[in-house]
Structures are given as C-alpha cells and as structure tokens.
C-alpha cells in the first residue's frame, strides 16, 4: 500500500489517499478526505510533490478517458471536481511562472495580449536553447552527413518557429497558449507541467 498526502507549510494535511493496488489510478476509490472543500493557497501548492500530482493526473486520465459522465458515481464526480480545482490552481501557477508573469495568480486574470507577448518571449528563449544544443552537437560531430542533417534540422526548426509566430494560428486564447507550440520546438515546457 502506498500513501499520498498533500500538506501545507504548517504540515496540515489537506488531502490523503491510499493506494491498495499499487497503481495511481486507484486513489479515487480509497481516498480519505479531511476537508469537505479543498482550497490550496498559492504558497501551499508548492509543497505538493510531483509524485502526488502524477497520481492526480492519472486519476483524471482514468476518469475522463474510461468513463463517461453518466457512468461516474456521485462520489467520483465529487472527487473529480476537487481534483480538477486543485490541478488547475497548480498548473496555472506553474504556467504563470514559466511565462514570467508571477504577479498574477490565475491565468484568467492575464490580458490575452500580455500572454501572447510572454509566450513569444518564452519561445525565443527555448529556440535559443535548442540552437545552442544543436551547435554543440555539430562541434562534437565528425561525420559530414550527420553535420548536414543537424544544420538542416536547425533550419527547419527556425522556420517552424518563425511561421508559428507569424501565422494566424498563433494562440489567442488561454487554452491555445497552453496547447499550441511550434512542433519542432517540442518538448513544450507547458506539456511538461500539464502532464506531470
């Protein structure tokens, strides 16, 4: 049996779950809630371990992929709602930090133009990281065929990012900002938060 716990900085337990089948998705059937409402303040969210949120994510996947709304029990619906609330708070804060918008606490409060500008800046930073890595690979490579491929990849990547930033598909909504990303610049740092 495994235990998961979410606690705040004072050590107060906000949520406790047990896992009798050694898989994350069974939390939903065994959890013990200590409060009728889970409200996790900004400062407390950072106390939650990644492992715990992996458990949350798997539970969400299980409930949303395998069951339709009408198949969920009342208990499962209640827990799903709570999981989603906690998860949204957590991901909003992580995304805002990534976008260098720490003065906000939820994504919905950020004007869309500010989000777009921050996203463009983040893409620029990630592109620089990727091209630096590619340059290092070129420096370490002796094989001309492979060097050609790296240069070709670099060019494709830069074109993909340029097209993304200029295209009409550049995200205009919060959901778009979290999901859209230049294909060749993957892995997206947002996905690393959302699928933690």
């Amino acid at each position: 049996m495994q235990f998961i716990e979410i606690s705040n900085e004072n050590g107060d337990i906000l949520y406790r779950g047990t896992n009798v089948r050694s898989d994350d998705t069974s939390y939903i059937f065994e959890d013990i809630l200590t409060d009728s409402e889970i409200v996790v303040p900004k400062e407390d969210v950072y106390c939650v371990s990644n492992l715990t949120y992996s458990g949350y994510q798997n539970t969400l996947k299980y409930l949303t992929l395998i069951k339709n709304d009408d198949q969920l029990t009342q208990g499962e619906k209640k827990h799903l709602f709570k999981l989603q609330r906690v998860y949204k708070q957590y991901t909003d804060l992580k995304c805002l930090k990534l976008l260098n918008l720490g003065k906000y606490t939820i994504l919905d409060d950020v004007p869309i133009k500010v989000l777009q500008k921050s996203l463009a800046r983040l893409i620029g930073v990630e592109l620089k990281k990727a091209t630096t890595t590619l340059d290092k690979l070129i420096s370490a490579e002796n094989d001309e065929t492979v060097i050609l491929e790296i240069n070709s990849t670099k060019s494709d990547l830069e074109n993909n990012v340029k097209d993304f930033l200029e295209a009409p598909c550049f995200p205009k909504t919060i959901e778009g900002i979290l999901q859209k990303w230049p294909t060749l610049l993957n892995p997206s740092p947002f996905q690393q938060i959302l699928t933690m």
Binding site: R21, L134, L137, D143, V146, T153, A167, W181, P187, Q191
Partner: protein, 196 residues
C-alpha cells in the same frame, strides 16, 4: 521467409510522414520479410507509394481500439502507466496478438540507446520519446538478426501523408529534432538503412 541477396532477412518500418508521397515504392515495400506500420496508418489509396503488406502494427495503447486487431501488435504503453496495472489497454480488448508490450525496462534501455547514439549531454528530463522513435528502438531489439530499414520518418518536419495537418504546432513531450539526428546517426553507422 524470403531472404534477400545478402542472405539476411529484412524488416521495414514505415513512418507516416508526408515525404512517403515523393516516391512510389509500394512494390518494393511489399517484398520485405516484415513490414511494420505505425499507429493509425492508412493504406487505402496510397498502395503505390507505401505498399499494402502489414505484418506488425506498433501503437500506443490508447489507440488500440482503432486498429486492425488481426495483425501482430507491438504495444507501446504510455510512459507513466504502471507496468503491472495494464488497466486501460488490456481489459476487454482481446489483444491476443501482442508480441511485445513496452516495459519500464524498455524506457531505461531507450534512453541509453538515445544517449549512446547521439549525446549524453542532452537533458531528457520529462521527455517522452515519440512512437516512431520507440518503434525503431523496439524493432532493433526484437529482430536483432534482421536488417532494419526505415521509410517515412521526418520527425514532424511535415504532417502525415494522409493528414498533412496532423500534429502541426501542438505541444507535446517528444524531442523530435534530437530523435531525427539520432536516427541519422544510426543510418550513418549502418545500424539501420533508409529505403530508397
């Protein structure tokens, strides 16, 4: 088993990139001893380009509902699904033709495979190799006595040949550009061969 001129059986992995439409290689493809196709591949109407022979399908577990279950299957689990759980893929799916299920150990091995063939300095934290890259790794592992060919892999420089818009500018956790260079190195080292 059909043996080629070199007396070595050949396995071909066909990716779904748009570039397969550049050459009509259908007849050549159908002469391979084993043809492996990926995910939701689509043959109908494209036979002269990609052939029709299909011996093995390599797919992610949650796409299994949409493919032909009479074929042999390499089942690639989602990276964070517990190996012992198998809750999502196995129940009620009648998967009697699975020849290999991706394991935790495969995750460790594919990371080593990537690093040993490309670079140890690339940070793979939280990355999730794409289905195409995983399939190349698994085929090399499962068919060590075969000569392995690939075709239709551009690691999302383009979309799918049957859906050019597929995966355009969506965020995910796949490190496409590094997979592409790694595969080029495998070709350069003659560990795999490109079909021409």
């Amino acid at each position: 088993m059909v043996i080629n001129d070199e007396n070595v059986p050949r396995v071909l992995i066909i990716g779904n990139s748009y570039e397969v439409l550049n050459k009509k290689l259908g007849e050549k493809i159908d002469k391979f001893d084993i043809v492996v196709r990926i995910g939701k591949y689509n043959i109908e109407g494209f036979e002269e380009y990609i052939g029709s022979k299909t011996d093995i399908i390599s797919t992610i577990y949650w796409k299994i509902r949409d493919i032909h279950r009479d074929k042999k299957i390499i089942l690639v689990n989602h990276y964070d699904l517990d190996d012992n759980t198998q809750m999502i893929p196995i129940n009620n799916l009648n998967l009697k033709n699975v020849i290999h299920t991706h394991t935790r150990n495969d995750d460790i091995e594919i990371t080593d495979f990537f690093k040993n063939n490309l670079s140890h300095s690339i940070n793979l934290c939280d990355n999730n190799f794409s289905l195409g890259f995983r399939t190349i790794f698994l085929v090399l592992k499962l068919f060590p006595d075969f000569k392995t060919y690939i075709h239709g892999f551009d690691f999302f420089k383009s979309g799918y040949y049957f859906n050019p818009d597929h995966n355009r500018n969506f965020g995910n956790k796949h490190p496409y550009i590094y997979e592409r260079i790694c595969v080029k190195k495998l070709v350069s080292k003659k560990k795999i061969y490109e079909l021409s």
